[in-house]
């Protein structure tokens, strides 16, 4: 079995022998972190494949019973030598039990032939007493042992076990590691196993969302055309059924799978573009949970612009329609009437489920799982398990979407790295520095032209010969080589092994895919030449090698190589410091994660103290107090030798680029200072949105969620004197101009309602909501709140509740709304009205301008890619975390902080950033100090030196646009790599037909 423990900050992960007592009936599976272990280790005995060859069926059957049923191995039978050889040829086996005396082909012959097919096959001969000598002979030609018939299981099983153990141990690997990251994920819910299969596997044309993704795919079963499975007819009317296996206590899921609403919207929208305008898509949902960044807009766009029909309801029966392959489904609509409708195709939006193996993995690693089977994490973290040094990434700790999974993965990785750093370890060995390129700057150009031969044929050969002759006319071309198919492994080997000692520039002409592929970059190392001296050009084989396009590109390439300038861009020296703007929980955690790696941090906070929103938050929904967590974080920040905190401070301007920024910081009552840093993390957070709706500001009885939280925090809420509290969700949220979901308000409402219910059970709490956004594991709190008697009323944005306040009344607040279930007006009187106004971002314009950060439509930090690069800006070296990205809870903010820290460390842990791009420089001997370039530069990168004698360029600010080079009357201003000669040469070459 497997054991692991922690010594001095290191885990030993290894296998030892099977416990002899439990061995017999134990099926093994092994955890996922055994690197490169074979299938055998992963699956145990069921993967150990034994072939039994005997002509007597009684022997075959009893061996099958002993080895298969009793011992758990995978056993296959063969009744003759010929059949055995066929089976060995079809699939490899671990062990063969082979009878010697068989009609047709005898055992020894079978052994000989089997060893040819599979030389490493272990063979155990079975022999009658009379043929023992033969068996001994068989051992000489490769059998491992023999058994004399008749034999008992006791004689056979130890021999088989020995072979199995030998195989199994060979498959194990012991690793000593400093930390473990678990990212084993979740599985899709399988509707067919539940109480209610929703027609899946029973009614034709009911598919899961995962299957539907395949149906839409260009590489799918129908080549991306949307055809229904039963009769391959085009789908014109499809329905998506939400919450299949989610929010369903009947199938043990008191959680929301978080992703299904969004993927259903996406699938419906994509299906509409694939299947045409007459395609009708219907999504039947319970709450449309568009809770993520820009999700709300996407949902509205899908409904209003793309015409996807959204129906609130839950489908209860799915049935085939007699005489056709359509699917009939029934649901109760929001207004109460029962709908029955036929669809060509029904898609079940299946949710996420914990992996069945997570529990046993967790047990072995001694980390805890929750009741559903997700990994339990520490309070305020989505990635720390209860055991130091073990972290979870992705969906393992609860359902999440792609962006959130990527964030958690980065967070888990950075935490693992911190663990190792704290224990005095380092990150993995750096790859060896690339071979330095030869200095050929003073040599005359000698070009090697390599042309790829794509197909064989005389026409091709003639073309290539013509090219050879033409290129050789140029004295700069030393040699021309033709190679076959560079895109294949052989061709690539031939290319990299081409002798380049006699030349100093290389031109490679190949087809488009190769020329622009990533592989071409590898040539620098192979040839020992600077990348600027290797040119790959695309040859258009379809139009013939004599075609104008090919001529132009090859000749331009040759000209460029001849005139290439060798000014070297040394790259940027990386400043080993990061600037974190914002001292809330996200900023602080980002700072700590980076500082733990030995990088200096400047933490700038605009207010007078650290803490941000956590300073007014009381406790989490599960009752964990927030103050100790905040105090602990602040004290870590204050004690950390690598962190410098600047409160009452603001960043007023910045310039520079990844690796080297210059930021100007203004501090109240102190001189302005400039900080040099290699990366910046923006964590300026957000605040509760202001409102004047529903009588807010006219009465003490109307408060926001934040004000209620503060009252609770400061013990100023006396629930005993109250009869009833009403809460209105989505105040000013999820509609223009604040058209996004703030994500935290629904759980906050539940938190406060449950808090009040626990303090005075008789207090009546009403929550008026549009869609309850209790994603992931928060769904259980929604269930709990209902169980505690909190009353929920759904309202539509076009029919909002009406509030009237009369301070003279006993209960001053009166709320009127239409209950959609009863379709009747309801009047609620309350002592207190709580408004969930959501979050507005606090991201000053000066910061976004200073660091070149773009904003999304709602003003939030625009990430480089919403899924795969969720915490970085398009501009390198600039990161965002916490609410700056989008509204989020404390653990989610901490995860983004750690993720941003991890991405920033990828830059900060280096010494130089490779020359990422071209910059301008000045030839001072030609410069007449006309200063036109200084006026022209749009980035302010040029300046006159202190003596006023030279124009200088700040390479950190220069963007290489070339404006300075075009205005310079003397060609004194140049952009590296774009000399006049090189550019004009390339144009001349391209024109030389």
């Amino acid at each position: 079995m497997l054991a692991c423990w922690q010594t001095c900050g290191y885990f030993n992960v290894f296998s030892n022998n099977v416990n002899k007592k439990t061995k017999k009936k134990h099926f093994f599976w092994q955890p996922f972190f055994l690197l490169k272990s074979e299938l055998l280790s992963a699956m145990g005995r069921p993967a150990f494949h034994i072939l039994v060859v005997d002509d007597e069926s009684i022997i075959r059957q009893s061996l099958d019973a002993w080895l298969g049923d009793e011992e758990g191995y995978r056993v296959t039978m063969a009744a003759s030598g010929a059949e055995a050889l066929e089976k060995i040829a079809a699939a490899p086996f671990h062990l063969m039990l082979l009878d010697i005396k068989m009609p047709g082909m005898d055992g020894v012959t079978v052994l000989e032939k089997a060893k040819v097919i599979q030389p490493d096959l272990q063979v155990l001969m079975m022999t009658a007493y009379a043929t023992v000598e033969t068996a001994v002979e068989a051992m000489k030609i490769g059998a491992m042992d023999y058994l004399i018939k008749p034999f008992e299981p006791d004689a056979l099983i130890p021999k088989v076990t020995a072979v199995y153990e030998a195989f199994r141990e060979a498959g194990y690997r012991k690793e000593t590691v400093g930390a473990i990251v678990l990212a084993t994920g979740t599985t899709c819910f399988d509707p067919s196993v539940g109480k209610n299969p929703m027609g899946y596997g029973v009614v034709p044309n009911v598919v899961t969302s995962l299957a539907f993704e395949r149906m839409l795919s260009g590489t799918g079963p129908d080549g991306g055309r949307l055809l229904r499975p039963s009769d391959k007819q085009p789908v014109k009317k499809a329905a998506w059924i939400q919450c299949v296996g989610s929010r369903d206590l009947q199938s043990g899921a008191d959680f929301c799978s978080t992703v299904c609403c969004m993927f259903a919207l996406k699938e419906a929208a994509v299906a509409k573009t694939v299947a045409g305008d007459d395609f009708q898509a219907t999504i039947i949902y319970m709450d449309m949970r568009t809770f993520g960044k820009s999700f709300e807009r996407y949902g509205q766009h899908t409904e209003s612009t793309q015409g996807v029909r959204l129906e609130r309801g839950r489908v209860h029966s799915i049935a085939p329609t007699p005489g056709s392959d359509d699917v009939a489904i029934r649901w109760t609509s929001a207004s109460g009437e029962i709908h029955e409708e036929r669809f060509d195709l029904v898609v079940l939006s299946v949710g996420q489920r914990p992996n069945a193996r997570t529990a046993s993995m967790a047990e072995r690693l001694e980390v805890a799982c929750d009741g559903f089977g997700f990994l339990k994490t520490a309070p305020f973290s989505d990635t720390r398990t209860g055991r130091a040094g073990i972290f979870a990434g992705g969906t393992l700790s609860g359902p999440s979407d792609i962006a959130e999974s990527v964030i958690r993965a980065s967070s888990a990785a950075v935490n693992a790295s911190r663990t190792i750093h704290r224990a005095g370890g380092g990150l993995a060995d750096k790859t060896a520095a690339p071979k330095t390129a030869r200095d050929v700057s003073w040599e005359p150009p000698r070009i090697l032209a390599v042309l790829c031969r794509c197909d064989t044929g005389t026409e091709m050969d003639l073309d290539l010969e013509a090219w050879s002759a033409r290129l050789k006319q140029d004295p700069a071309v030393a040699r021309v080589v033709n190679l076959d198919r560079i895109c294949t492994a052989d061709g690539w080997n031939a290319l990299t092994q081409t002798d380049t000692t006699d030349v100093n520039r290389v031109l490679v002409g190949a087809c488009r895919t190769f020329a622009y592929g990533k592989k071409a970059h590898g040539l620098t190392t192979a040839f020992g030449l600077d990348p600027a001296l290797i040119e790959t050009v695309a040859m258009d084989h379809h139009q013939g090698l004599g075609g104008p396009a090919t001529v132009a590109t090859i000749m331009a390439g040759i000209s460029r190589l001849k005139n290439v300038s060798m000014e070297k861009n040394q790259g940027i020296a990386i400043v080993n410091r990061a600037l974190v703007v914002g001292g809330g929980i996200a900023g602080m955690h980002a700072a700590l994660a980076i500082a733990d790696h030995g990088v200096d941090i400047t933490l700038v906070e605009a207010s007078e103290g650290l803490g941000g929103n956590l300073s007014w938050l009381h406790q989490t929904i599960d009752g964990t107090p927030i103050a100790p967590f905040l105090e602990n974080t602040i004290s870590q920040i204050e004690k950390h030798p690598k962190i410098e905190v600047m409160t009452d401070s603001r960043v007023v301007g910045a310039f520079g680029q990844a690796g080297h920024f210059f930021s100007t910081i203004e501090t109240a009552g102190a001189p302005t200072m400039t900080v040099e840093h290699g990366a910046v993390i923006l964590a300026t957070g957000g605040v509760e949105a202001p409102t004047d709706a529903y009588g807010y500001g006219t009465s003490q009885a109307v408060v926001t969620q934040r004000e209620l939280e503060i009252r609770i925090h400061e013990n100023q809420l006396n629930t005993d004197g109250m009869t009833s509290v009403a809460m209105i969700q989505c105040v000013g949220s999820r509609e223009e101009p604040r058209n996004y979901c703030s994500r935290v308000c629904c759980p906050t409402a539940l938190k406060q309602a449950l808090w009040m219910k626990s303090h005075s059970p008789d207090l009546q709490v009403y929550i008026l909501y549009r869609d309850m956004m209790t994603c992931g594991l928060n769904e259980a709190w929604y269930t709990e709140a209902r169980k505690q008697g909190v009353l929920f009323f759904q309202y539509e944005p076009n029919r909002k509740p009406e509030v009237s306040i009369d301070a003279n009344e006993d209960m001053p607040v009166t709320v009127r709304l239409q209950d959609p279930i009863l379709d009747a007006p309801v009047k609620i009187t309350a002592d207190l009205l709580v408004l969930a106004t959501g979050i507005v971002l606090h991201l000053p314009e000066t910061l976004t301008l200073a660091y070149g950060v773009e904003r999304d439509r709602d003003g939030f930090f625009q990430e480089a890619d919403s899924k795969w690069r969720p915490v970085e800006a398009l501009k390198a070296g600039v990161f965002g975390c916490g609410i700056t990205l989008s509204p989020r809870s404390i653990p989610e903010a901490v995860a983004t902080a750690e993720a941003a820290a991890g991405r920033a460390l990828a830059i900060l842990m280096g010494e130089r950033l490779p020359s990422a791009r071209v910059t301008a420089s000045v030839r001072h001997s030609l410069c007449t100090l006309c200063l036109r370039c200084i006026d022209t530069c749009p980035y302010g990168a040029r300046f006159l030196d202190e003596a006023g004698q030279r124009v200088e360029v700040n390479p950190a600010m220069c963007q290489g646009c070339g404006d300075c080079a075009t205005v310079c009357p003397n060609s004194a201003s140049i952009v590296e790599g774009f000399s006049h000669r090189s550019l004009f040469g390339a144009i001349d070459g391209a024109m030389a037909m």
Partner: protein, 199 residues
Amino acid sequence: MQPHSATGSPTPDDGSTALDHVRNMVSACIQCGTCTGSCPNALEMDLTPRKMWRLVILERLADVMASRTFILCSACYTCTLRCPRGLPLTTAMETLKGIAFTRREARHRNSRLFYEKFMQTVRHHGRLHEMAFMTGYFTAMKNPLTPLRFAPLGMKLMGKGKVEMGFGKSAATHLDALFDKVAEIERAAAAPLEKESHA
């Protein structure tokens, strides 16, 4: 008195404590309507099951009692099977019947008498004795027109020999002990409800 009310509808009376038991059963309801869609009798009901639960949650006992929905429940258990929250909906319907009969709601008099007489027959005869049941029910209804209303059905059943005539076979099958025990158990289980056995 609850601080909410549906304007224009009768306000709930104070007997709603009886409803608390049912309310606890269905408080986790998310009003998805799966029960309504699943119910084979929903079309006959004046309130759909979903509305019924909503009224129970809102403690509107008078509105609940005015409805025939729970009487029409044929205890097929489809809603219980399909409810995504796993709520005991059939039991809740049954309990509502109990409340209505306990309160001797005028609207449900016929149903109550039907149930009572049915169980009475079973108690005396050990099985359903059609003739005894009919006689008991019609007598209890105190309406001479009732037998006439059932006459066509009765003739049909008699024609097929489905109604056993006479009053015999009752002496040896006393089930009093069993019925008393069940009543005792039910009283204990539903003590706060003060629900009398409608058996």
